[in-house]
């Protein structure tokens, strides 16, 4: 056998990947010259796979201004919350005509103040020159006091004043009044003293129906009056320091003499903030010794 030459070609298609489908095996066999020389060659040729485009999903996005014409606004409920200060005390002077003001709250300092048509009447006439009340409890902390007053009748010539104040003693006080005198005319006046001479701040105004407000912040006092629209601070550039933390509060109507009548009606007295100094006891401990 001189030459054996055998070639076998196998082409196989695979099940798994149709892109690999051509496999060739070549076997070249021995020659006669030297039986020891065997030449075997195996060639495996993998043909290039076919490249396919595949599409699994397609869609179109429409990008536009989000402005649906059917969008509606709907409102199911609406209300207003009013956030306000809860006063620590309100005296509205309801009661029978002729009665004194609430004796649990007030002590009478001058004259005979009485309830009249659910107002507190401070009346000065031929029999006296001063009518006034004072709270029975000290007010402490950063407090704010408002008195709604109406000047019902006043003397055309006599000097007079009526208002609200806080004090520690005869020469330690801060008060704001509706006043009249022959030199300055009608005005709103802050009078204050911290143990020495009185300091006066004045704003001209003829209002007869107003509110007078005192506010203490730390040891600084300020005074306002209601001009019919808003509270107006009397001389806002100045403040007055009174160092103690607890004060008596009072209202008073007063004339220079008793020649004519001054009638002040207080509709409401409010302590908006602060606290009553003896309102409650704190941290009371009892030790029982056996």
């Amino acid at each position: 056998m001189a030459i054996r030459n055998t070639q076998t070609v196998v082409e196989a298609l695979t099940d798994g990947d149709p892109k690999v489908r051509n496999t060739q095996t070549v076997v070249e066999a021995l020659t006669d010259g030297d039986p020891k020389v065997r030449n075997t060659q195996t060639v495996v040729e993998v043909l290039e796979a076919t490249n396919y485009f595949q599409l699994a999903q397609q869609f179109v996005q429409v990008i536009s201004n989000n402005d649906p014409s059917g969008n509606e606004f709907q409102l199911a409920q609406q209300f207003i919350q009013i956030i306000s200060k809860n006063p620590i005390a309100v005296q509205d002077f309801t009661g029978d005509d002729g009665d004194p003001p609430d004796s649990d709250f007030w002590s009478v300092t001058d004259g005979t103040p009485t309830i009249q048509s659910n107002d507190l009447e401070l009346l000065v006439n031929s029999s006296n020159t001063k009518d006034g009340v004072k709270t029975k409890k000290l007010v402490g902390g950063n407090f704010e006091i408002v008195a709604d007053i109406n000047v019902d009748d006043y003397a055309a010539q006599d000097n007079w004043k009526a208002g609200v104040g806080v004090n520690l003693s005869a020469d330690e006080y801060f008060e704001i009044n509706r006043e009249y005198d022959n030199v300055n005319g009608h005005s709103i006046v802050v009078r204050t003293a911290d143990g020495g001479a009185e300091t006066v701040y004045r704003v001209s105004d003829t209002t007869t129906d107003t509110k007078l407000k005192i506010k203490k912040d730390g040891n600084v006092f300020k005074g306002w009056y209601w001009d019919g629209t808003a509270f107006v601070e009397v001389n806002s550039s100045d403040t007055v320091g009174l160092t103690p933390d607890e004060f008596w509060t009072y209202m008073v109507a007063e004339t220079k003499n008793n020649e004519a009548q001054l009638r002040i009606l207080v509709d409401k007295f409010t302590i908006l903030s602060g606290y009553f100094a003896d309102a409650f006891l704190q941290n009371v401990y009892i030790t029982i010794i056996q």
Binding site: G70, F73, Q77, F79, S84, K85, T270
Partner: protein, 344 residues
């Protein structure tokens, strides 16, 4: 302006609606024990009947994280039954509870500020069935820390020192009633920080009243789902079975409102808060709303606000002054105004 939170619990129908309004975080396991009851000055308060251990009612507030300042919170509280030693009443909460009040023996509230351990800094005796107005001031610092407590506007204690723990912790919520079975009511809650020129200090004992629409105002341009426009939105307890609606920007509704409670003082009104429960029907910002105030025949609108599209949700505006004269609100000014809405 530093008013971070205020709530009087008026206008809500149930706890679900209250929670959905964004006013509070309520775990589901305590929700059955919460309800609304009579408020301190009329209206509503929030009752926690205390039926479950480790209950926790969280009132979050938005705190200016870049401006770490003292925070002040106030709330009215009344205890309805006996208290258990160790019940946690409240805590100002950051990453850790920083200033807390625990009910102690003999019905006292014991106060703690947190360093490495709770540090007892004071106490106050309380009585069941009585309303108190608590105010607390807190600031975490390793030198100038503050833990201050007031009852009915009087300072009970004022502690200062090192209450710095781990890091300076910025408070962001108040939590009520953790680790206990307390039965209590809260009302008239506020939170302020100390920045700005107003609402930057103790507000004192506040009250929050609500007034509701009572008659038609100048405008009825929205469409009512039934009846008159104002009758669709006048519920004192939330009800979305009727409502007003519009798809037209610029449409207005305005309503006359109930009179302000007569016992409020003109000098005492801090602010108004307009509250609307509203929504849009499609999730698109092409429709919004503005609160409307009509005073003296002139319209004043607040800033435009976006709307939710799932449920009727709270849209609020604090209106600190009468827009017609930029002066504080008075009873007369509130009573003379119409309030309503403009479609944006």
């Amino acid at each position: 302006m530093a008013l971070l939170y205020a709530e009087g619990f008026e206008g809500y129908s149930d706890i679900d609606q209250y929670e959905e309004s964004g006013g509070v975080v309520i775990p589901s396991y305590i929700q059955p024990y919460l309800s609304f009851g009579s408020g301190r000055n009329g209206g509503q308060s929030l009752i926690n009947s205390g039926g479950v251990f480790q209950e926790e009612l969280t009132i979050p507030f938005t705190y200016p994280a870049t401006n770490n300042t003292p925070v002040i919170a106030g709330f009215a509280i009344k205890f309805n039954n006996a208290m258990t030693n160790g019940d946690q009443l409240f805590r100002i909460f950051g990453d850790l509870f920083n200033f807390s009040g625990l009910v102690g023996q003999s019905g006292s509230v014991l106060f703690y500020t947190h360093i490495a351990n709770n540090l007892n800094i004071g106490s106050y005796p309380i009585v069941q069935g009585k309303w108190y107005y608590f105010e607390i001031k807190y600031y975490a610092d390793n030198i100038n820390g503050i833990a201050e407590f007031k009852v009915n506007e009087e300072i009970i204690f004022s502690w200062s020192g090192d209450n710095y723990y781990v890091s300076r912790v910025t408070p962001y919520c108040i939590k009520f009633g953790w680790n206990g079975w307390m039965d209590y009511q809260i009302d008239d809650v506020y939170v302020v920080d100390t920045t700005g020129t107003s609402f930057n200090d103790y507000l004192g004992d506040i009250r929050i009243d609500a007034i509701f629409p009572s008659a038609a105002g100048n405008y009825s341009q929205l469409t009512p789902s039934a009846g008159n426009n104002y009758e669709c939105v006048d519920e004192s307890s939330f009800d979305d079975t009727d409502y007003v609606y519009s798809a037209n920007s610029g449409d207005k509704d305005s309503y006359d409102y109930d009179a302000v409670p007569t016992d409020l003082d003109d000098a005492a009104i801090y602010t108004l808060r307009m509250m609307s429960f509203s929504k849009r029907t499609v999730a698109s910002d092409n429709i919004k709303m503005k609160h409307l105030i009509r005073q003296g025949g002139v319209d004043y609108v607040q800033s435009e606000q976006s709307l939710a599209d799932d449920n009727f949700s709270k849209v609020e505006d604090f209106v600190f002054e009468d827009p017609s004269d930029s002066n504080p609100w008075t009873k007369a000014k509130i009573n003379s105004a119409e309030f309503g809405v403009e479609v944006g």
